[in-house]
């Protein structure tokens, strides 16, 4: 349907996805970059810092973009990343 959308959806609040928190265990990371490559929302990027294993672990760009698909934690060979839902009080 080709109409241009000019007004915000009325039920936007109801469907807002929960806020997520990304946890990185930096020293476990071996710098394969899978999580960066496969994140559908491009939430991660490579950082400049060097971890215990001598590689660049990922860094969070914009945590609010995360939609909890958890693909990063599934694909990570070293169990160095996981996602949890933020608690309500933290949200504010």
């Amino acid at each position: 349907m080709p109409e241009r959308i000019r007004h915000a959806p009325l039920d936007l609040e109801k469907v807002k996805p929960a806020k997520m928190e990304i946890h990185l265990i930096k020293d476990e990371c071996k710098g394969c970059g899978y999580c960066i490559e496969y994140c559908p929302k491009k939430v991660l990027e490579q950082s400049d810092e060097i971890n215990a294993r001598g590689v660049h672990p990922p860094r969070i760009v914009d945590e609010s973009q995360c939609i909890n698909c958890s693909f990063c934690s599934i694909i990570c060979p070293d169990f160095a990343i996981f996602v949890t839902e933020k608690k309500n009080k933290e949200e504010k």
């Binding site: 080709p2 109409e3 007004h7 915000a8 959806p9 109801k14 559908p40 939609i67 698909c69």
Partner: protein
């Protein structure tokens, strides 16, 4: 299907023409001496019988012709009476009944083109009638019998567009017993009607009356539904279309039970197009509750798995029936159909182009389509009309009419047909729910033209809706309250109004689909200046396209309401059904004949054919014609420089014979006029019917299209000393043969250039675009050209003869 002349040896038999001059009571005899004309006809070559009678079209008159064909062994018949547009079919049938091929009949139009337009000059009228008979006899001598090609028709139909028109057309055809393929580009059928809350004038719930029809169409054994699909290619011709349909994948299989569990887990949320963005939908969704098919769909532009990796499997996990499959690929279906119904509908006008109304900037200015979704109980606000800024129910509401209709400023000069009644209905809906709401309707005219419409209008006024004539010049927002001020002039009271309301609803018009050009190109259709598809005849063939086997239904043809769309859909289904019931169609034998030995395979004819009916066979170095696809304009014959192609029944020889007949005597006083059958010839007929008087200089040669008029015809007329030449056709863009008259214009421009280069007065060649309704335009052209004829000097005519002398040698 190419027909070459070699295969048909010309029968060497003596031409025996019978001429019948009709009195038509006093219609002709009043200003033409018919006995004199008949006497003259008797002296013409090949004429063995010439007589005048009172009413040739009467049973008695026809019986006479039949009898004469047998008794006098007539093998050509000429009737000089009314317009061939009126009685040619009658006399053709008479000839056929007597065993004479109907293409051996010719008519001279001495009523509309002679007696009725020269009522007070019997002498000149009689002379003109003689000339017209002479032309007809000259052509008749060269007529050849023809057999109409018969084309089989596939008994399957394609319906493009699954709105109410497409659904109705599909159901009608399917119930008749034909297989129907219904193609819809959205995920569900239903179209615009599914989005509307109530229908006028009966206030029925729109989706409640549509949903059963949608369901019927979805389950009908004769209907195959292709949703989320688009027609990508159409080849072939009437009765034999090869269609390719691209089916985009839904990524959800038919096992879907529409339980909606997947939607709950999908992390993607975007505005729902169905609700004009007023509600949210997810990456996996169904556009609305009553959707047919009810199978959900994944929006692959948004899905996290769009790059081919299953990143997110939440919907897969949520689906008990394992109906989600990311492996599905687009499929191209190939269909063979006999008829096509175009029911592609219309778009709504986008009011952001009118900055004075502030749509898109002022939150409380909405469109009528957004209103429909808000007032709909199944819509985003649960049926509460709320204004977007604070979600309160408004106490004062304004409707602004003609937004994107009847306005040059918005580029939409036409009336959109439905908005007046839609607003009246909407205002009553508000009054029904919240009776205390103040409602103002700003209008130009209220067009309540249909059955029950005026009653509804009256009801709205009685309910207290205030109608104010004069559209607001501007809508201004009150920044504090977010109310809107409407400022304009009340044209009845001649005073300026400033009215404050809680919200304003723009009653937006309908416009042609933005992608109509694709359909136009695929099916070689034409569109009017407003962008809607053009019918074959506005009165008598309102649902037929100019392309054979293609029909229109619904808003694709022009803006219309639901009732008219359904009516037209049933009409289109009936028209398509007639073709398919017959199982075959005959093509009038006015298609081209080729002479392969003369063909240079230059391909010019291929380029000018509006129907893509000619193709170049490079191996054999000749052109091939699909007769069934040919519309019969004759453009190809006019374009061929080598005489390798001519149009049956309008051959070069026949037209040249007519030109020669006109220019035999006193050519310096005559206008050689070429008129196309559909517009300018009909316009000249209309001048006759309306008894518009004009000077008797013109002799009209009828061609099917002005595109048939080859440059050499015009040159020949001048070479033989004609004072002036008129070429006339339908208005550009209105051509009966899609765009063939653009070729006419090109040829005339070439001729004008040539005349100028040779020092001739190019005014002597006139080009006129006149529609069938523009009799007065034709008559005034005749008057204008009479003055030109009087002013053309003999030296000028001699010069013209010399310049174009070459064309006479060629034959």
């Amino acid at each position: 299907m190419t027909e070459s002349k070699e295969s048909k040896p010309k029968q060497e038999e003596q031409v025996r023409i019978g001429v019948y001059v009709c009195h038509c009571g006093l219609n002709i005899a009043g200003s033409v001496d018919c006995a004199e004309v008949a006497k003259y006809a008797g002296t013409l070559p090949n004429v063995v019988l010439a007589q005048d009678n009172r009413y040739t079209c009467s049973d008695q008159g026809q019986a006479g012709i039949k009898n004469d064909i047998k008794e006098h062994k007539l093998n050509r018949v000429v009737v000089a009476s009314c317009s061939p547009r009126l009685h040619e079919p009658t006399f053709r049938k008479t000839c056929e009944d007597a065993g004479l091929n109907k293409y051996l009949f010719e008519m001279a139009n001495i009523r509309e083109h002679c007696s009725w337009v020269h009522l007070y000059d019997k002498e000149a009228g009689t002379e003109k009638a003689k000339d017209l008979v002479k032309m007809a006899v000259a052509k008749a001598a060269l007529l050849e019998p023809a057999v109409e090609a018969e084309v089989p028709i596939t008994r399957r139909a394609l319906v493009i567009g699954g709105g109410v028109a497409g659904i109705q057309a599909s159901l009608d055809l399917a119930d008749t017993g034909y297989k129907v393929y219904l193609v819809e580009k959205e995920p569900s059928i239903g179209g615009m009607m599914a989005r509307i809350d109530k229908t006028f004038p009966t206030m029925d719930c729109s989706i409640c009356i549509l949903a059963p029809k949608m369901s019927d169409a979805g389950h009908h054994p004769n209907i195959e539904l292709f949703t989320n699909s688009e027609v990508s290619e159409v080849k072939g011709y009437i009765g034999n279309f090869h269609v390719k349909v691209l089916r985009k994948p839904r990524y959800v299989t038919k096992d879907c039970s529409a339980c909606g569990e997947c939607v709950k887990v999908c992390p993607i949320a975007v505005p729902n197009e169905f609700d004009v963005g007023l509600a949210v939908r997810h990456g996996i969704y169904t556009p609305f509750a009553q959707a047919v098919p009810s199978t959900y769909i994944i929006d692959m532009n948004l899905c996290l798995n769009k790059d081919g990796v299953i990143v997110c499997d939440k919907c897969i996990k949520a689906c008990d029936r394992q109906a989600i499959s990311f492996e599905t690929k687009p499929v191209t279906e190939e269909l063979e159909v006999g008829t096509i119904i175009v029911a592609t509908g219309a778009d709504v006008f986008d009011p952001t182009v009118l900055p004075n109304y502030g749509y898109g900037k002022i939150p409380n200015v909405i469109t009528s389509l957004e209103f429909e979704r808000l007032i709909n109980a199944g819509g985003p606000s649960g049926g509460h009309l709320i204004r977007p800024s604070d979600r309160q129910i408004p106490k004062r509401v304004a409707f602004v009419q003609c937004v994107g209709s009847r306005s040059e400023k918005s580029g939409k000069p036409y009336c959109s047909n439905v908005c007046c009644m839609n607003t009246i209905k909407d205002s009553l809906l508000i009054k029904e729910h919240w009776p205390d709401t103040e409602i103002y309707v700003f209008y130009v005219d209220i067009r309540a033209y249909g059955k029950g419409f005026e009653d509804l209008y009256k009801r709205a006024r009685n309910a207290g809706v205030v109608f104010i004539r004069g559209l607001p010049a501007q809508i201004v927002e009150d920044k504090k309250t977010h109310n809107v001020w409407l400022i304009g002039e009340n044209t009845l009271r001649k005073e300026v109004y400033r009215i404050n309301t809680d919200m304003a609803i723009l009653s937006i018009g309908l416009e042609a689909r933005k992608d109509s050009e694709t359909i136009q190109r695929l099916l070689t259709l034409s569109r009017n200046q407003d962008g809607f598809f053009l019918e074959a005849h506005p009165k008598l063939r309102p649902v037929d396209a100019a392309t054979g086997g293609v029909f229109f239904a619904g808003c694709a043809e022009s803006p219309k309401d639901i009732k008219d769309s359904v009516t037209q859909a049933s009409a289109a289904a009936a028209r398509a059904g007639i073709l398919m019931a017959k199982g075959h169609v005959t093509v009038e034998a006015i298609t081209p004949i080729t002479f392969p030995e003369k063909c240079k395979a230059c391909g010019l004819c291929v380029k000018v054919c509006p129907y893509n009916a000619i193709s170049l066979n490079k191996d054999l170095k000749r052109v091939e014609i699909v007769e069934a696809a040919c519309g019969g304009c004759g453009s190809c014959a006019a374009e061929c420089n080598f005489g390798a192609l001519t149009q049956k029944h309008f051959t070069d020889e026949q037209i040249i014979a007519q030109i020669d007949a006109i220019t035999e005597n006193e050519p310096e006083k005559k206008i050689v006029a070429f008129c196309c059958n559909w517009c300018s010839y009909a316009g000249a007929d209309f001048a006759g019917v309306s008894r518009m008087q004009y000077p008797p200089n013109a002799r009209i040669i009828r061609t099917m299209c002005s595109g048939r008029v080859s440059q050499k015809f015009v040159e020949r007329a001048f070479a033989r000393g004609a004072a002036t030449v008129l070429v006339s056709g339908c208005h550009l863009g209105d051509c009966h043969y899609i765009n063939a008259n653009y070729q006419t214009q090109k040829r005339m421009e070439r001729l004008w250039k040539k005349m100028e280069q040779n020092g001739l007065d190019k005014q002597r060649l006139q080009l006129l675009w006149a529609s069938a309704a523009e009799g007065e335009k034709f008559a005034s052209k005749m008057r204008e050209m009479k003055i030109m004829v009087d002013n053309v000097k003999p030296e000028e005519i001699e010069k013209g003869k010399k310049v174009f002398a070459k064309v006479l040698e060629a034959d």
